[in-house]
Symmetry: C2
Amino acid sequence: MSNPVREAHARIRAFIHRTPVLTSRTLDAESGNRVFLKCENFQRAGAFKFRGACNAVLQLAPEEKQRGVVTHSSGNHAQALALAARLTGVTCRVVMPANAPEIKRRATAGYGAEIIPCEPTLQARLAAASRVVADTGAVLIPPYDDDRIIAGQGTAALELLEDVPELEAIFAPVGGGGLLAGTALAAQTAARPPRVIGCEPAGADDAYRSFKTGVRVEHAVPHTIADGLRTTLGARNFEIIRRHVADIVLVAEEEIVEAMRFVWERMKIIIEPSSAVAVAPVLFRKAGLAAKKIGVILSGGNADVETFFAALRSSLRQ
Amino acid sequence: MSNPVREAHARIRAFIHRTPVLTSRTLDAESGNRVFLKCENFQRAGAFKFRGACNAVLQLAPEEKQRGVVTHSSGNHAQALALAARLTGVTCRVVMPANAPEIKRRATAGYGAEIIPCEPTLQARLAAASRVVADTGAVLIPPYDDDRIIAGQGTAALELLEDVPELEAIFAPVGGGGLLAGTALAAQTAARPPRVIGCEPAGADDAYRSFKTGVRVEHAVPHTIADGLRTTLGARNFEIIRRHVADIVLVAEEEIVEAMRFVWERMKIIIEPSSAVAVAPVLFRKAGLAAKKIGVILSGGNADVETFFAALRSSLRQ
């Protein structure tokens, strides 16, 4: 049976990295489950977002490609779209909040995109992007509320299920809902679909509240270190999530930090706070699962490590 | 032909991780070479040291196993020996300088070893270890100046050459010289042995000076953030290095930090400063190589990330 995630995977597979699936004895012991981490921190541009961006850009008509693309993003989608556009010879403009992490702004510009700064509100982002569309005719590629993006993001879970077919649950972070909705669609391709569980910071719980009440929260004031999850749940994303997601669990800020530290220190890989949001419920046994095979989508590795290296550099001068 | 590194690999292969070999487009572009990173940061206990420790412990006679083992180490060898001892049911005592990184002390104790603190000098370490031997009959497993240790450490390069047989050069950090000497012995197993190049902090250049003058420097006052490389070159190590190593290059402290940051930020893996010492000459084109296939041994990932997470935790309280 045809599935948009399978179609997306066929379209983008030559462009993306097939990222590794890592395991850890210590994580298994702490969790009481067998845990398989899908490492999108090793994806091109450092996050799963490259999958959706590729899937969108590769479906542009020739005349759309000539006009170029534009998006508004706090970071990972921006880098992803910039790289996908460069690989396909398309001009890319990115509206980015002035408070976006420096590492993300630098990387996006490094992929050849033009950065257009704006105020850090959804309204300001949308308005600035609309102006670019009006002025240049560029095609808007939204960061998550888009069927092409959702299908592309789902290819991470699709690959994970190819590598570990008998998973009983998959944990994925939820911000705008592109990754979670795509993961839920990917799960439907399995002979016995795993339970898909969304993981959200308690300080940005709009998806949780939408899921529990059945009414999408359209405005929220997020407060979380997981900068990739400060976006508000999209409409298309919510429709898929309410149908195909088993549950959404909330994670405290301290748990995000400790889960991130666990992965850095024990597994020696860099994950960003948004990734840790999906690790935390598994590590701290918050999902009521035991002795199961569990997948976790690590969304990306674009953490700002400047504090660490600033301290290290300053130690050189002592 | 028999080779001690091949024999060591046959002995330890069921205990160690066969670590992955990673590549990076960006690193290749910066270096002007094709670079293959052997990721001992993913080795058990977080560093290549587990290889040598396993090779030593597995060769103990039954009555030696009963008496237990002891070592003196600034960290990675201690963790490695503690884990190797635990896996083989042997008691382990570790003499450790009082200024060793907290992460390493905690991990060593976590593997069940008894920690015996001492002053941070080679003399104090040797004296404390001798006392333990006299008091308990424990077998001293030195961190590097030991043929079993050297052969074990060489198995990382042996695996790298199995995965990428046509390497023209291999870069490895040098402190006490266990890894570099083992790498040099491993290189001899290749049909066309690669040039083996030692990499050393300029602030701890005893191996460089020994290599250039032909006379081993026996006393040095190291000053480097690469805590794993503050040891002084061993006698056995020097004999192998002077025969089989092509060159030793020096790396400035700032280069260590920038190479470390490059790997963290671009490759999303945690490496410790000692690993970055072998990346720096490749990244900054200090070895006069172009368009070659080059291997780099990443020694480990036991970096103390407390500064990073302390800053992150403090940001939660704002």
